[in-house]
């Protein structure tokens, strides 16, 4: 599955996309304080493919939400693509998500009432693209993930693997600086999961920066770099690339 759409320049190993510095995230549960992230500092370079691993409750999803600007860290600084986003307000964070982040979720998170085409177009709608341009782009992206013939189907008419591919196409629509995937194969059977991972691997080869949460080692094997979490802290990092 090759694409003519990737626009990022080839990976430059010395350019950081994500810089985390002493990030904490605490939740107040009644009288108990839960530290979902407890002093996380790390750097992800442009073109990296990271797998964040760890047991359930170790803070992987929280980490990904912070990375994706869906959540604000309690303390610490976060620089995304050269911009300090740690103290941005809701509108500014929304714009960062709109322009620089592409999300892929475990449960696909497509809007069931909208066709494949409209789902892929959604970021472009908020980016104020013209109807014509977004239609063209959606078609290209659908072709790229192999769903060019399903543009007018609704998500409910698609298999899990097809849905996740639509989600990948949607995540690519805004040409993001980083793609964040939270257990993208968690709801898929093994062969379908492999196809999705192949797709992500392909994107990475073309220069996309990807950060993926998973607890399965065979899924993590697609990523060049591994980051292990435990109790909200980074316990280890490995570089297999």
């Amino acid at each position: 599955m090759t694409s003519q759409i990737t626009t990022e320049c080839p990976a430059d190993p010395n350019e950081p996309v994500i810089e985390l510095n002493g990030i904490t995230k605490t939740y107040q549960m009644g009288s108990v304080e839960v530290r979902a992230l407890d002093g996380v500092s790390t750097v992800f370079q442009k073109g990296d493919f990271w797998a964040i691993m760890g047991p359930s409750g170790s803070g992987k999803s929280t980490m990904l939400n912070v990375l994706g600007c869906l959540d604000r860290p309690t303390t610490g600084t976060y620089i995304l693509d050269g911009r300090d986003v740690s103290n941005m307000n809701d509108d500014q964070l929304s714009l960062i998500r709109l322009r620089r982040v592409g999300f892929i979720f475990q449960s696909f998170n497509l809007i069931p009432q909208l066709t494949v085409q409209r789902n892929i177009e959604l970021p472009l709608y908020y980016l104020d693209w013209s109807v014509k341009e977004s239609r063209k782009r959606a078609r290209e992206l659908a072709d790229m993930v192999g769903l060019g013939d399903r543009l007018n189907h609704r998500p409910t008419e698609l298999s899990g693997g097809q849905r996740q591919r639509v989600a990948v196409a949607r995540a690519l629509a805004n040409d993001p600086a980083v793609i964040l995937a939270d257990e993208p194969t968690g709801n898929l059977d093994t062969p379908t999961g492999k196809q999705i991972m192949a797709l992500l691997e392909d994107l990475n080869t073309q220069g996309k920066t990807i950060v993926m949460v998973t607890h399965e080692s065979h899924v993590a094997a697609y990523a060049g770099k591994h980051l292990h979490m435990l109790d909200g802290k980074i316990s280890a990092t490995e570089d297999h690339s």
């Binding site: 939400n65 960062i96 998170n109 809007i111 009432q113 970021p123």
Partner: protein, 422 residues
């Protein structure tokens, strides 16, 4: 550019509403019936009051009508058999009225006598109206044929008569009858004109003219028939002496009408021993009709507000349910990068589209109902442009007011929690 964006958002809103056709339709119903009934009710009110106003305008609005009435006096009752009753307005009153009040431009004295009229073999009881040419400038009616009474007729005491169209037709008097004689109570009058009449009688209103009137110069009437009348009441004859049955006074400006009427009442009270006259002021009736209409509109307005409020609450209820149901969608949109105000816009546009569509359907209903009322019940209805504009403005307003809260609820959800929602 902004325009096309707005159109696109409205179309998207419509798309979303189309997904739940039945629900959208039911949600609109409150507004549909609210707006429909507002327009319909206002049209009935407007129809009724416009009819009343039309009638009053036919009476003439700058006039005061003083009518002689037989006093209901017990003493007079006893004497009825032995004496004749003398009451009513005097020739003198008309003159004094004109002299006393600057605001009175002219007065028209009226003598009314019921007589049998005869043309060839046909006969009909007519109301002989002895009056002056001024009558025709106060009670303006289109002339069907010939001419009205003139000063010449008065001066020369000509025995001429102007008939009303209705009476003339019954007497088979047509255009060719002009110049021919009509015999009224044994006297011959030359028919010089035929005039249209407006005979309205509803409630306290009655026009000065009636169906079968014969207008003759007042001096001729007095000469021929005198001031004495014999009336037959339950078998016995009653003799009455009445100089004038009516005085119609024309006032220079409408703002002076009521003041002048008060003055006239004051004056007549001093000079008349008995309460033997009634003053009626069409303008006062007009004001009263307008007051009634205003009250009516306020009542209708309140009912309308309540029904639209109910409709609005219905919309809010559904939109809140819709927001909850679409929590996940909101989370997805927020994750993709939609700002809060864009979520607010999305939901607000949906409610406004819904309520505006309801308003438009309601307007159709509001046009149909009055038509049906007029068709089946024969009631006059008038749908005014402002009631349509008002309803539309209100229904859009209802959409905004009741859509704001659900829209903000949607926008303020935490995107992470919204995404987790199943």
């Amino acid at each position: 550019m902004r325009y096309s964006k707005a159109v696109r958002n409205i179309l998207l809103g419509m798309d979303n509403l189309r997904l739940h056709k039945l629900r959208s339709l039911l949600t609109m119903m409150g507004i549909v019936f609210g707006v429909g009934s507002v327009i319909a009710m206002l049209s009935v009110g407007e129809g009724a009051s416009r009819e009343a106003l039309d009638q009053i305008k036919k009476l003439g609005s700058n006039i005061i009508i003083i009518t002689s009435v037989k006093p209901s006096d017990d003493n007079a009752n006893d004497m009825r058999r032995t004496r004749m009753s003398i009451y009513g307005l005097l020739y003198h009153d008309a003159k004094r009225l004109r002299e006393t009040f600057d605001t009175v431009i002219r007065t028209v004295p009226v003598k009314l006598i019921r007589k049998d009229a005869r043309v060839n073999v046909r006969h009909l009881e007519v109301r002989l109206v002895g009056t002056t040419p001024d009558w025709f400038s106060l009670v303006r009616r289109p002339l069907v044929a010939g001419r009205v009474l003139s000063e010449q007729d008065m001066k020369k005491r000509k025995a001429v008569a102007v008939l009303t169209e209705h009476g003339a037709r019954k007497l088979l008097a047509v255009e060719s009858s002009l110049g021919k004689p009509v015999r009224i109570a044994g006297d011959y009058f030359e028919v010089v004109g035929i005039i249209r009449n407006e005979n309205i009688q509803s409630g306290s209103l009655s026009t000065p003219d009636q169906d079968a009137d014969a207008y003759v110069p007042i001096n001729v009437a007095r000469e021929r028939f005198g001031d004495m009348f014999v009336k037959r009441t339950s078998g016995s004859y009653v003799r009455e002496l009445v100089e004038l049955h009516q005085i119609i006074a024309e006032v220079d400006a409408s703002e002076n009408v009521e003041k002048t009427a008060d003055g006239i009442a004051e004056m007549l009270k001093r000079s008349h021993m008995h309460d033997d006259y009634r003053i009626s002021v069409p303008l006062a009736l007009l004001r009263e009709v307008e007051r009634t209409k205003r009250t009516f509109n306020i009542v209708l307005g309140s009912i309308a507000c309540i029904s639209l409020l109910v409709g609005g609450i219905g919309i809010m209820n559904i939109m809140l349910a819709s927001v909850t149901e679409r929590t996940k969608e909101i989370g997805i949109r927020r994750a993709i990068g939609a700002r809060q105000k864009q979520i607010v816009g999305q939901f607000l546009i949906e409610t406004i589209v819904l309520s505006t569509a309801g308003g438009l359907i309601g307007i159709c209903l509001g046009l149909l109902i009055p038509w049906l009322i007029t068709f089946f019940a024969g009631m006059p209805t008038v749908v005014t442009a402002w009631s349509i504009v008002l309803s539309l403005v209100i229904s859009v307003g209802v959409g905004i007011v009741f859509g704001i809260y659900p829209a903000f609820r949607a926008a303020q959800m935490d995107p992470i929690i919204a995404l987790r929602h199943e």
